[in-house]
Amino acid sequence: MPNRPQPGDPDPDRIDPAVATRVAERSIGLFLLGVVAFSPPLVAVFAGTRFVFGIPILYLYVFAAWAVIVALLALIARRVEAAMHSPPDADAPRAGPPVRPLAGED
């Protein structure tokens, strides 16, 4: 049965609870950021025919905000990935994942 987890699989359940809480908090934070960034009044701030590098500032803003959100989402997902792959030794107290791929966080 291919959809049964195999023993060596990275297991989302093995994530350190502290990391999981952080991931949850950041996910909500990012969602709120996205809601605000794409809310019509804020988008309307960039209305008008102003240009940056020849591109209307409205388009530049929307796509840039979108790209930033995707990038932050990727960072969160990589944090989860790193936590999933950390060894699941129950004996050793795990203060955090051994791999800390996110430079400059916290």
């Binding site: 989402l73 969160i76 990935e81």
Partner: protein, 912 residues
């Protein structure tokens, strides 16, 4: 190059490539090396981008600039919340072997057949026209393409005759593809590896094709983005598109975002690729950002293409929906135009394939099978093998769905109903969102609430979106659109209850969601869950907290062989046997056909069946064979209740036994005490008899001497008689004291408690012993402060205590005995001090016990009875006081005791 035969050949070659990829994928998966990795998984999600978005985004952008974006921003936002929603849905679906969105919703609400059928019907009504739209896009783009080098708008073209319509053949091929790669397994919760691989490939093709057209429009026809926008800004037609739409479209922007957020989870095809085809939860960590990135990438060139097209065909002769195709055609790029066509083809076919699989699974498992299983005269339970029937139904459903889509598009033509179905299907899918999101977070949401919400939402959707769209296409009389149903103004579908000023979509979303969410919450609050609903609700809401232990729902008698036979009928004998053997091997047992199946095995079988025929049907099937209508959950609850009661009893028993233990301990202690008392009594008797015998012996001895020697001289005789008298007195005193003590200890003493003046009592006592004191050559000294408060005691007994202490002191004193008294707190402390040798510290306690005397070294024999102090203690304790001995300063012993003072009123009375 763009002759129709060439286009046909290339298209068919492309479709053949799809077959090859799917075949390769399945073959690889059969060898145990699945093709669905995180990247393929993420790409397969891009089935979200259909031909409606491939061609339609540009068309929409040409109309209102940035207004097309919410369709893509919504999914991005929804994926930001993957940690809470998508991960949980996937976890639940894996555990329950969910096969479709209808299965998911019905499983959550007590495996309800009604709900699964309802969701299926809505999905078919909403999605089947969407499939038509894809086929139409193929047909239209083909028609436009083969006009090359002429560039014309499809509206001005005659529809192709049926037999030369590529779309028909494409539809047939797609049906074949879907049957081939979509129904390989009877278990619908298994992954369609080949199909997913093909979809991922299609996602790459459509992205590349769109990017190619975008690069061509931006960097070949123009000199980069700046040039595109500069040209647009100079054109009065295009310049308004560069700015944001006015405030009136805020609502549209937001409602489209919300609908797209719901759609990315609730569209059956998205549920299929995201949830059912998910192999590992961990793939999500890649997919959650790769998929939004894909959406971002495929939208970068939408505006440049739109502006380029608007600039090229400034006369408006060309439909903006075809710009992706017509811009390269107008630029003379045949190869690019063909590639763009293939991209559109891939977008359309991907959607058709996945939607057809999802819909056919739902139609088979959630609509037809439950009905068939409940139709007794079909005698389905007698059929030896039902897997063929299942596959047959699914395959037929695929053909019917796709061909119905084709017929719908051929008959309804280029009408509003078809063009607007994209967003309309989003709005319909959004009706599932409250039941799904509420279902995984709100434990008390009930089936009644979900059904009411979905039904109301769907009915309103029909009335405010679907029926008007049919009316506008001329399929229904249009009167109700303008004047409202039955001529009631308030019921105008586009301004329901007078709500005006919103676009149709926002208007529809507002009313459907208001009714849907309102009914869902309201009815859930007013109704109760059945037991099974409750069990499922807990399993869904606590998906992450739950361990593998699940409530045992089956309590029937069915043998392993019967169960195996049952599962085999639906999923195939060999496969069932294989899985059962694996099950037993995993548990370290062997398959014994004649054994009764235990509850976990029955549940395992139910899950197996659920994977094949859906949760609702699986329940019906299992219930038919597990005897004793095992899943009467109310019975389970009863058992639970019984268990609770038994626990209660056992709890009470425990308490009783604890009490018993305590009583036993008390008894044991009492017994110990009794034994101790018995021992004391024996000791006492022994001591008393000894003490009595001593004077008796001496009396008897001297009496015998006197009797045997009548000639004894007078002096000696009187001396002997004197001894006899003294010993008799001592004997009498001893007996009196023993009697006193016995009375005291037995509590039979007559007490005459009264308020007494201590000075008087002490004075009397001293007078009583004065003779004895003088005999001993001791001078009594009495120190009593004036005005001593009265005490509460028995006068005679109190005198007895003081006399006793004084005679004791007199016997030991060298020449002086002092009696003192003073009030201390609520007590009067009386002390009797002598100037004798004192009492050793070690004897301070024991001296008050019976027959214990402070034996003085050198002294021949104590003169007391050894009972006096014991009696004193008894009396003082009875008064509520305390007696003790301490060393007096300057040697000697000081015996002290306390007596409680009389209460205040008595004192006041005394003072008067």
């Amino acid at each position: 190059m763009l002759q129709s035969w060439a286009v046909v050949v290339v298209s068919f070659a492309y479709l053949c490539l799809l077959f090859a990829i799917a075949y390769w994928g399945d073959a690889r998966a059969d060898r145990g090396r699945g093709v669905i990795g995180p990247y393929v998984y993420a790409l397969s999600m891009a089935v979200y981008c259909t031909s409606w978005t491939y061609y339609g985004s540009v068309g929409r952008a040409a109309q209102d600039g940035i207004g097309f974006l919410p369709i893509y921003l919504g999914p991005t936002l929804a994926f930001v919340l993957w940690w809470f929603i998508i991960k949980k849905i996937i976890r639940i679906s894996h555990r329950h072997r969910i096969t479709s969105i209808a299965d998911f919703i019905s499983s959550r609400y007590g495996k309800s057949t009604l709900l699964s059928g309802l969701v299926t019907v809505i999905a078919v009504v909403a999605i089947m026209p969407y499939i038509s739209l894809q086929l139409k896009a193929i047909s239209t783009s083909f028609t436009v393409l083969i006009q090359y080098p002429e560039v014309t708008t499809p509206a001005s073209l005659e529809p192709l005759p049926l037999l030369s319509d590529t779309a028909l053949y494409v539809a047939l091929i797609l049906a074949a593809f879907t049957i081939l790669f979509g129904t390989r397994h009877i278990d619908a919760s298994e992954h369609h590896q080949g199909m997913v691989a093909a979809i991922a490939f299609e996602s790459i093709i459509k992205l590349l094709a769109f990017l190619a057209v975008g690069v061509y429009a931006t960097f070949v026809l123009h000199d980069g983005f700046g040039d595109v926008f500069a040209g647009a800004a100079g054109d009065p037609n295009r310049a308004p598109l560069l700015t944001v739409p006015d405030a009136g479209s805020y609502a549209q922007w937001m409602s489209m975002t919300v609908m797209a957020m719901a759609a990315i989870i609730c569209l059956p095809r998205q549920f299929q690729v995201t949830v059912v085809e998910n192999v590992r939860e961990s793939h999500l960590t890649k997919a959650v950002w790769l998929f939004p990135l894909y959406l971002l990438a495929i939208n970068i060139f939408v505006l440049p293409i739109a502006f380029t097209g608007l600039g090229m065909f400034a006369d408006g002769s060309i439909d903006a929906d075809t710009f992706v195709l017509t811009v390269p055609m107008a630029g003379g790029q045949e190869g690019l135009a063909l590639f763009a066509f293939i991209g559109g083809l891939s977008a359309a076919t991907g959607m058709v394939i996945v939607a057809a699989i999802a819909l056919s699974t739902m139609v088979c498992n959630d609509l037809i099978m439950p009905v068939l299983l409940r139709t007794p005269w079909l005698k389905l339970d007698r059929r030896p093998d039902l897997s063929g029937l299942l596959l047959g139904i699914r395959r037929a459903a695929i053909v019917v769905v796709i061909l119905l889509g084709y017929v719908y598009f051929r008959s309804i033509g280029d009408s509003y109903a078809l063009v607007s179905i994209g967003l309309m299907s989003f709005a319909a899918a959004a009706q599932f969102a409250p039941a799904i999101i509420g279902g995984i977070f709100w434990r008390n949401a009930t089936k009644a609430g979900a059904v009411t919400g979905i039904v109301l939402g769907f009915l309103i959707w029909l009335y405010v979106l679907f029926l008007p769209s049919l009316a506008r296409s001329g399929w229904l009389p249009g009167g109700f659109v303008v004047h409202g149903a039955f001529g009631i103004e308030l019921l105008r579908p586009y301004a329901l209850f007078g709500l005006e000023g919103l676009d149709h979509m926002s208007h529809a979303l507002l009313w459907t969601m208001l009714a849907n969410i309102g009914a869902y919450i309201g009815v859930s609050l007013l109704t109760r869950q059945s037991a099974l609903e409750h069990v499922q609700a807990v399993a869904f809401v606590d998906a992450f907290r739950q361990t593998r232990a699940r409530p045992r729902l089956w309590r029937g008698t069915v043998t392993v062989a019967n169960l195996l036979d049952l599962v085999g009928r639906y999923v195939g004998r060999d496969r069932a046997a294989l899985v059962f053997y694996a099950y037993f091997r995993q548990r370290g047992g062997t398959l014994e056909p004649d054994r009764l199946a235990d509850s976990p095995l029955v549940e395992f079988a139910e899950r197996m069946l659920a994977g094949a025929i859906g949760g609702a049907s699986a329940r019906v099937v299992i219930a038919s064979v597990v005897q004793g209508e095992a899943l009467d959950l109310d019975k389970v609850m009863e058992i639970l209740d019984e268990a609770t009661q038994i626990r209660e009893y056992s709890h009470r028993l425990e308490q009783k036994s604890r009490e018993l233990e305590a009583t036993t301990a008390e008894l044991r202690a009492a017994n110990e005490r009794l034994k101790e008392l018995d021992r004391l009594k024996d000791d006492f008797l022994a001591t008393v008899s000894h003490e009595l015998r001593t004077p008796l012996t001496s009396i008897r001895s001297f009496s015998e001497i006197l009797s045997d020697n009548p000639d004894i001289d007078q002096d000696q005789r009187s001396e002997f008689l004197d001894i006899i008298i003294k010993e008799s007195i001592r004997l009498t005193r001893l007996i009196n004291q023993i009697l006193d003590l016995a009375k005291l200890e037995a509590g039979r003493m007559d007490w005459q408690i009264a308020d007494l003046d201590p000075a008087e009592v002490i004075g009397d006592s001293v007078a009583a012993v004065r003779g004895l004191l003088q005999e001993c050559g001791v001078e009594p000294q009495v120190h009593l402060p004036p005005g001593l408060p009265p005490v509460v005691a028995d006068r005679d007994r109190l005198i007895q205590v003081v006399v006793n202490l004084m005679s004791n002191a007199a016997k030991n004193a060298a020449g002086r005995v002092t009696v003192a008294a003073a009030a201390r707190g609520d007590r009067l402390e009386v002390s009797v001090t002598d100037d004798g040798p004192g009492v050793p510290e070690a004897l301070h306690e024991v001296i008050f016990e019976k027959f214990r005397q402070a034996g003085r070294s050198g002294a021949a024999k104590p003169t007391g009875t050894g009972l006096g102090l014991a009696i004193c203690r008894q009396i003082v304790q009875h008064f509520g006081g305390r007696i003790w001995v301490e060393n007096a300063p300057g040697g000697g012993a000081r015996f002290c005791f306390t007596v409680p003072l009389a209460a205040e009123p008595a004192m006041a009375a005394q003072a008067e």
